[in-house]
């Protein structure tokens, strides 16, 4: 089962390598990972999406906690939480279909952030399913490039 794990770590050199090394060294897969400083500049937040049965996830949790630089590990999956992802999608477009693309983007509340004669670049933010749905629709026009942030997540309340 997929788990979204939020890790608060000390913000200094080598910490990302420790977390990434732990996953590769123990054979766990990372589906996505995003890292940035928090409101406390001494701390960083990692949001990590991974897969595994309960035993594997429990080990991941324990191993992450064991790192000296780890402040807190939270498995958000069990509780109410919100997930968001941002994707930039460069879609092939012509003067004939440009308005169709824009119409779909409006429904998804996605924004056009760049345009030229042969392409449009769309910015979409939302739950991973929404982002995926828009990408699937864009494929019918021809997707040139996709850049995704990976998921970030926060607990409700």
């Amino acid at each position: 089962m997929e788990h979204v794990i939020s890790i608060l770590v000390e913000n200094h050199a080598g910490v990302l390598a420790r977390v990434a090394g732990l996953f590769s060294g123990r054979g766990y897969n990372i589906d996505s990972l995003s890292v940035a400083p928090t409101n406390d500049p001494g701390l960083s937040r990692m949001t990590l999406v991974c897969r595994g049965d309960d035993r594997v996830i429990e080990q991941i949790n324990k191993q992450l906690n064991k790192l000296i630089d780890t402040v807190k590990v939270t498995d958000l999956t069990a509780d109410e939480h919100i997930e968001r992802e941002l994707a930039l999608v460069k879609v092939a477009s012509t003067s004939q279909n440009r308005s169709d693309i824009i119409e779909i983007c409006n429904i998804f509340r996605a924004r056009i952030i760049d345009v030229d004669l042969k392409s449009l670049t769309v910015e979409v933010v939302g739950a991973p399913q929404k982002v995926q749905a828009l990408i699937e629709l864009m494929r019918t026009f021809g997707v040139r490039e996709i850049v995704r942030t990976g998921r970030v997540a926060i607990s409700r309340g």
Binding site: A13, A17, G21, G25, R55, E58, Q59, K62, K66, I68
Partner: protein, 577 residues
């Protein structure tokens, strides 16, 4: 104060008495200071791996962190095997490596290696000091992290410009401030009560003790619990010495090469009390069939939460220090008796003892037995890795913690000799013996120079069978007798003459360990028969000098009992009785 002076001052304040190591360009500033210390004895080794294993042997024999000091690049990479050895066996080490100056890092400078990157997976933690102001805190934290919780090695990567930089107003911190690292020592009282109830209700309880018992010095509590509740005790390889093996409740080692009675006891017990151990695959064999009669009744005490329910789910997990948790259990637990269970175990012990063919031939098991007798079981024993290691575990009876030093987790050939030297430095008056194979001893044999020059009277008992014996045993048993690259001896024709056409000066055995020892200024003696053994051992113990005893033992002896890798107790091979 300059960085290099701070390091030496900090080591002194940490109470360090011995540092092992080897100098080089990127650590010269520290070497320029360390020989001015009146407190620290520096042991110059012949290889950085040797230095780090010595620090490990010192740590295992004393319980205090061992310290090694090496240069950058190759000096640092040479410590990696020893770091991994210490990490797998939870041994506290602080290894300080020189590094190229900070402005050269990343430029492929001479003798540069990314040692914090390389050692990350084999250390408990590591530091790259990039600011002189961090240095006092880093050293304080390194010793604290290495020696607390589940112990382990810590590396400090120390660039040359930081060694030369000056820190005004240097003070060494009194304590550490590490909110993200707080090991749990006190076990949860509710879990402890559950454990007590489970033990009191058990009909066939069994204690299974690992290295955690040694590190927390919980041996007296294990003994008290075993005696009060009449619980037999088996230990892992690293747990040897955690329970007196001369005690009637001792079942000795369990697992792949454990005793048959220990493995039968694990199979039949209805309550397993695992203390300071991690259910390693060499202990459990096939996980699904491990301890089938107590799977809903396993108590596991360990300081490392990630060791609990990693391989085997347990019903009563207790995170904490083994000694503190057992002390609390002992406050509540009522005496129990299990006459039927004890009788059953006694029957297994009588029926399936450890045994070997004791004929006229000098056999390795016999050698270990005589080492035990000659030292009256009071020596510190180190081992290398292989068949001799298992025989050292079987035929010497350990009664005290910190008297058996062996690479259990990583299985590092070449560990024993330097580890024995480290232990000898910690305990100059003790008899320290490295039980070795003729393969393993050659992996760090250069430290014989360190032994001789520092007057460390370690005795190396070499079980010389001319083979990489454990590999040969596996090839015999699991690879249809196809001996591939395991013969260390000279090929002979059917009449017994050498068939290699080598010149006459090539010795009968390569190397000739007796002459090799003599070349270093140590003592050497060859033992070919059973009769020669005890006098040779007595001579070696009396000599108080480094000694190689080259024991020419039966070549194709196998280690039994054996449960093949990944198999269960049903596939246990008893060997000959």
């Amino acid at each position: 104060m300059r960085g290099a002076q701070i390091v030496v001052d900090a080591l002194e304040r940490e109470g360090v008495e011995v540092v092992f190591g080897f100098p080089g360009g990127a650590i010269l500033d520290v070497f320029d200071q360390i020989n001015k210390s009146r407190q620290i004895r520096f042991i110059l080794t012949r290889h950085e791996q040797g230095a780090t294993h010595m620090a490990d042997g010192y740590a295992r024999a004393t319980g205090r962190p061992g310290v090694a000091l090496v240069t950058s690049g190759p000096g640092a990479t040479n410590t990696v095997t020893a770091l991994a050895t210490a990490y797998m066996d939870s041994v506290p080490l602080v290894v300080i490596c020189g590094q190229v100056p900070t402005n050269a890092i990343g430029n492929d400078a001479f003798q540069e290696a990314d040692i914090s990157g390389i050692t990350r997976p084999v250390t408990k933690h590591n530091y790259l000091v990039s600011d002189i102001r961090d240095l006092p805190r880093v050293i304080k934290e390194a010793f604290y992290i290495a020696g607390s919780g589940r112990r382990g090695p810590v590396v400090i990567d120390f660039p040359k410009d930081i060694q030369r930089a000056t820190l005004p107003n240097y003070t060494y911190p009194e304590k550490v401030d590490l909110p993200t690292y707080r090991p749990v020592y006190e076990g949860n009282p509710r879990q402890i009560r559950k454990a007590v109830a489970a033990i009191e209700q058990a009909k066939r309880p069994l204690l299974y003790c690992g290295g955690g018992v040694i590190w927390s010095l919980a041996h007296q509590q294990v003994l008290a619990l075993a005696e009060r509740c009449e619980i037999p005790v088996t230990t892992t390889l690293l747990g040897l010495g955690g329970f007196p093996e001369t005690h009637p409740l001792a079942l000795h080692m369990l697992g792949m090469h454990g005793t048959q009675y220990a493995n039968y006891a694990i199979h039949e017990c209805d309550c397993l009390i695992a203390v300071g151990t991690r259910f390693d695959d060499r202990v459990t064999g096939k996980l699904e069939e491990f301890a089938p009669n107590c799977r809903d009744n396993i108590i596991h005490v360990d300081i490392d939460p990630s060791s609990i329910s990693k391989n085997i789910p347990v019903s009563v997990p207790i995170v904490g220090d083994c000694r503190l948790v057992l002390e609390k259990m002992l406050k509540h637990i009522q005496p129990q008796q299990h006459p039927e269970w004890i009788a059953q175990i006694q029957e297994w012990k009588t029926k399936y003892p450890l045994a070997y063919r004791d004929d006229g031939v000098l056999r390795p098991q016999y050698v270990v037995q005589k080492v035990y007798e000659a030292t009256r079981g009071e020596a510190i024993i180190a081992t290398e890795v292989g068949q001799h290691q298992m025989w050292a575990a079987h035929y010497y009876l350990y009664t005290q913690p910190r008297t058996f030093l062996s690479s259990g987790g990583l299985g590092t050939m070449g560990y024993g000799f330097p580890a024995a030297l480290g232990a000898q430095i910690a305990h100059p008056d003790k008899v320290v013996i490295d039980i070795a194979g003729d393969g393993s001893i050659q992996m760090n044999i250069q430290e014989l120079a360190t032994a001789v020059l520092n007057q460390l009277p370690v005795i190396v008992v070499i079980m010389n069978n001319g083979y990489l014996g454990m590999v040969r045993q596996w090839q015999e048993m699991f690879y249809q007798h196809n001996y591939s690259s395991v013969d260390l001896g000279r090929p002979r024709d059917p009449e017994g003459r050498f068939a290699d056409g080598l010149p006459d000066e090539v010795p009968e055995y390569v190397p000739d360990f007796v002459r090799l020892a003599q070349a270093y200024g140590a003592l050497g003696r060859r033992v070919r028969t059973k009769e020669e053994l005890t006098p040779a051992l007595e001579w070696a113990i009396a000599a108080r000098r480094p000694v190689f005893l080259d024991c020419l033992v039966a070549r194709e002896e196998n280690v039994f009992p054996m449960i093949p890798a990944g198999a269960s107790v049903h596939q246990m091979m008893g060997g000959m009785a």
